[in-house]
């Protein structure tokens, strides 16, 4: 078990270090997210009487599309340089590699969310930085990173991987997105987390489900 966590930690640390130096993933996600927010801001500025009506959709759509940009790169750099084989040679259960990369992806998406939350607050004048909303966003992002990382590994060997990833990912991710959006609407309308227990439980259920399925299937996904 110690070896398992050591490998997961090593992969996480390596991904963070490489990203810190190159900023490849963060730059593409952050630029996309900011541009999307600007477009949403101009599109809705004159037509929506209460901006709280559109903010949950703006938030989750921006996170989903920016996130998929980053997830698409998670295994491409490994595959193109052949280093994925180097990882797979580690004498440990390969799901440790999955968890290392999943947590790295989760951190990258959370950093982008930390950038866009204040921007949405300013653009739409709707306070989003509250503890319950941060919790909902975290639960949704865990599910997103969990399923996105496994699909990123699955599509990396295909020719049309950039197109295939969102096509495969979003239908599976739909329950998480719906639960996240519904819970965010509730919070903006003044509900408490207790009132939204069903949506929170749904998010927790799918997070757990995606993590278990990924744990069980990652070895088959990456092996030839």
């Amino acid at each position: 078990m110690k070896a398992y966590f050591r490998v997961a930690w090593a992969v996480l640390w390596k991904d963070l270090r490489v990203e810190w130096r190159t900023k490849d993933m963060f730059t593409s996600m952050a630029v996309f997210a900011v541009l999307a927010l600007l477009i949403f801001n101009f599109a809705f500025e004159l037509r929506v009487p209460d901006k709280r009506m559109v903010v949950p959709g703006v938030l989750w759509v921006t996170v989903a599309f920016a996130g998929v940009l980053g997830l698409g790169r998670a295994f491409i750099t490994e595959k193109d340089r052949g280093s994925l084989s180097g990882l797979l040679l580690a004498p440990v259960d390969r799901s440790a590699i999955y968890f290392g990369k999943m947590v790295a992806n989760l951190i990258f998406i959370l950093v982008v969310e930390a950038l866009i939350l204040p921007l949405i607050t300013v653009f739409f004048n709707v306070p989003l930085i509250t503890l319950p909303l941060l919790l909902i966003l975290l639960l949704g992002t865990i599910g997103f990173a969990a399923v996105g990382t496994i699909f990123s590994a699955l599509t990396v060997n295909t020719r049309a991987r950039e197109v295939l990833l969102p096509i495969l990912l979003f239908p599976v991710l739909l329950p998480v997105l719906v639960a996240g959006i519904r819970a965010t609407i509730g919070l903006l309308e003044g509900d408490t987390l207790n009132d939204l227990a069903n949506w929170v439980q749904l998010l927790l259920f799918f997070d757990l489900l995606f993590l278990i399925v990924a744990y069980l299937t990652f070895d088959y996904v990456v092996e030839e």
Partner: protein
Amino acid sequence: MTSVLIRVQGLQKSFGRHRVLRNLNFDIEAGTSVALLGPNGAGKTTLLRILATLSRPTAGRVTIAGVDIGANPEGIRQYIGLVTHAPLLYDDLNAMENLEFFARLYGLSDAEERIRDLLTRVGLYHRRKDRVRTFSRGMVQRLAIARALLHDPPILLLDEPDTGLDPQAAEMMNDLLKELSGGERTILMTTHHLERGLEVADRVTILSGGRLVFDAPASGISYGELRPLYDEYVGVGAI
């Protein structure tokens, strides 16, 4: 007395309807260096990837030190060091960081000293703080060998390690391979260079169309004898 370290029995591998390996059977004794020759598409890389547990056989059995590689792949990986024409390294980490990362994957406790020794051995200690991105092809390949030797594996699999090297770098690689093959380590190396195969290995084999068509001790055959045999087995002008 020698003992069989790698045993391949009835090995087959297909990708869809394309059969890459066809009923391969051979043994490799511990401490032996084997050069695996063959044209592109012969199945050399596929065989090495199966031995390295990166690919699953369609049929047949491979044992390493008596252990079926399908039954305990995690344990088998501890025995294997793999060098391919792709370096399996990270361009944006420096040489030291790359080896430190792989040392963590293998759970090495005395990693710092081992990394220093290996970098010195492959002549890259003075470039240890430089990113791999700034290395020449020959330097990258020498670092890849250091990575493969990091956990001191008893088996080294080399998949065309001299691909893309200029003559000087290829000569350095040759010296390194000769040094490695002189020890107790078991080496299986694929190459297109017949002379290099004869120079480095104890045994020379030829794989063609997924079948092992030739297997002989390297000491008993010269380049002049091997060349026409190779042309006959794989077709003239195959390389």
